[in-house]
Symmetry: C2
Subunit: 154 residues, 2 copies
């Protein structure tokens, strides 16, 4: 795989099966995703909500026709920081066969450029403390672990 | 102040001056906010973007007519977690004169109930590691610090 040939685009509904497969093909994802045919309706509804929202973008990385990575970027206007917009990255996954080949870095770099285009003053994400290698990956890309990421299941 | 009398509502543009004052009246906020008359245009633009977005709510806590707290809640559809919606809380502040009187807890509890109404499976936030007392406050309310919160200034 030539990483110079990787392209990025917004996902379309036909990509959803492959996206859910990638999300489920992961240590933590396998416990919480439900990859089956046909896909559970909740994935389709979520895809439609994202597609309809100008402040949410579901982005796939492609090698030729093949989808090898995915991420979601959410753009949010806040009153804090003098009314600044921020980008939040979530659900970053690469296909298992290309892991360690730099596709994840390219995805994040793409998200950073897109966030600048959208006028964001900050890009942020949270990473599970059970993924120490992910923390190192993001720190290498220039992120600072300045915050605690708190979650509550409802 | 009787905390049973505190009410919550979506902010209107007339509240913005008071909101920005509360955000700036804080150790970290004083370095990054710009409270002045008239308010910088960027705050007004951000307020309008939030007001126009059905997935963002800027909520104020009131004691009678007086605004004593603020928070922003963002509702986001994700593909992860079987296509679940999450709520993200940001910019939680209470007026300095009521700090330590439980207004912050009431704000967060209100956000949790609102997130349930909106069908979210999770409520999340990040808190600056420079605010150890805030971490304890959120943990007491039931949040788990399971994630690292990473930020990058653009």
């Amino acid at each position: 795989m030539d990483t110079n040939q990787i392209t990025f685009r917004e996902a379309v509904i036909q990509d959803l099966d492959r996206i859910v497969f990638m999300l489920s093909d992961d240590v933590l994802g396998s416990k919480r995703e439900q990859y089956q045919q046909p896909l559970p309706e909740s994935y389709i509804t979520a895809f439609q909500s994202i597609a309809a929202d100008p402040n949410n973008e579901l982005i796939v990385a492609c090698s030729g026709e093949e989808i090898i990575g995915v991420q979601q970027i959410t753009f949010t206007p806040f009153i804090t920081h003098r009314g600044g917009w921020r980008a939040t990255i979530e659900g970053v996954r690469t296909a298992s066969k290309v892991r360690g080949k730099g596709v994840g870095s390219l995805l994040i770099q793409w998200a950073i450029e897109r966030s600048k285009e959208r006028g964001c003053h900050m890009v942020q994400l949270t990473t599970d403390k059970k993924r120490p290698e992910a923390l190192k990956f993001y720190e290498k890309l220039g992120f600072k672990a300045s915050h605690e990421g708190l979650k509550m299941q409802l």
